[in-house]
Symmetry: C2
């Protein structure tokens, strides 16, 4: 199943998809780990968000995204979207001819490595939390770990509006995390189970520490996914190279020039609008 | 073009569509005006929201919604979604075999009737505001009227989260309306250019009055659309009847039981999930 790129002069690209632009945080992490790696990114911005939709709809849209990238010859697929990972990974893996890495397993591993008390709070979209995928992934590794999870539907629009700091972000972060800490006063780690949430990490970290009365570790899955990609590729030439190409496809371009840099960490030089 | 239902024993249904559940406020207004009228409602909940998408995507999705309802034999179509009305009405009217009524014209008429100073503030989704449809509709009726418009992307998710009262709603309403009043300190009427916003009317009305230092009239298009439907049908039998049937179709059922009653004002007794 695994394809090694090391013997080839030009490796095949990695494919990364997301419901929107949030997955560009994963692109950023992969480029940091594999500077020479070519990447094709697809954001299904015409149908974003996935997080408020049913598992069936999420699976249908995710399969279309995967098909698009596999048809373009990627050798490995990263499902940056937590909602898609949590609700559609079995279907995606079954339908794919290349290895598929989701966001949930790497995120769960990171949280367990960081947490001392093994009491972990997960926040994500409604569809991610309803799937209980993080609970399952954590229980499979640490059966005695305690996990509480809370959907936070306002955090994605808040991050997209750019209100990532200031009174509204503070108030919303406090309100959601107060609900989370009411489920478990003793958690020591907060797992950001959505690609958008790292933009709000500062406010979430501050609110969590204030509510707990002690520092809370805040982790996300982007860098863990990049590490999993490196392992899957088996010491690729791209790890030491530089200047890998990034091809970006979206299903709708509205506000892309404004939103993409917040997640990618640099301006988008070009993109193509496609119809799935 | 206009079809009168008065001579028939059983009139054909009115079709109403929206990007999601917000358009149920229009269903509610139509049922109040025409209690005996059969209604078919379609909410494109799998692809909601339209408001952050491009005119091209909004037009494509709206045409699919209209086709679905026209194929089911409606005699009149109401485009409850302001984003679809503002971006796709010409394409919808051109493609339809039955009369089509959008949200923008009735909303503009209501605002002009209510405003004394003819200085009107419009809030809506990004796509509605970018279309400048309200400015055009108001200028066509009152060339000297002054209109300012502001996109408020957080209001839809806030209404859907149910945080329609309390500190977050207050703070968000104040922040957006402060931006709007910075564009025109003298406006006397606030037009809610989105089917979701009536749920936040109380906080918006209070914030507007506080910022202006005087009462501000707050209007929306739901009841004006119902009045336009009555005019288009020409004194239908349904006006005095009772017990008209409501058929509800959605493209995704997530949270429907929870969300629909907030907009419809009563529980949904049944619905059908369809694929467009």
């Amino acid at each position: 199943m695994m394809v090694s790129a090391s013997a080839k002069t030009r490796q095949r690209p990695i494919g990364i998809f997301d419901s929107g632009v949030g997955g560009l945080t994963v692109v950023r992490a992969v480029r940091a780990a594999l500077p020479g790696q070519d990447i094709l990114y697809l954001g299904d911005t015409a149908r974003v968000p996935y997080g408020s939709k049913s598992p069936r709809t999420v699976e249908r849209y995710s399969l279309a995204c995967q098909r698009f990238l596999v048809d373009r010859g990627v050798e490995l697929l990263l499902v940056a979207c937590n909602t898609a990972s949590a609700n559609a990974l079995p279907a995606l893996a079954a339908a794919s001819t290349v290895p598929v890495i989701g966001a949930v397993e790497p995120g769960a591993e990171t949280a367990l490595r960081v947490s001392r008390s093994q009491r972990i709070g997960v926040i994500g979209t409604l569809a991610t939390v309803r799937s209980r995928a993080y609970e399952r992934a954590i229980a499979a590794r640490a059966p005695s770990a305690h996990v509480v999870a809370l959907p936070c539907p306002l955090l994605v629009p808040l991050a997209e509006e750019g209100w990532t700091h200031g009174p509204v972000a503070e108030l919303v972060a406090r309100r959601y995390l107060a609900e989370l800490f009411a489920l478990d006063r003793d958690l020591d780690t907060l797992l950001l189970g959505c690609t958008h949430y790292p933009l709000l990490a500062e406010e979430l970290t501050a609110a969590a520490a204030e509510l707990a009365g002690r520092p809370i570790a805040v982790v996300d899955s982007a860098s863990a996914m990049a590490a999993a990609a490196v392992r899957a590729l088996g010491e690729p030439a791209a790890a030491s190279g530089a200047g890998g190409a990034l091809g970006v496809f979206v299903t709708d371009a509205t506000r892309l020039d404004e939103l993409a840099p917040r997640f990618l960490g640099e301006a988008l030089t070009s993109f193509e609008v496609v119809d799935l």
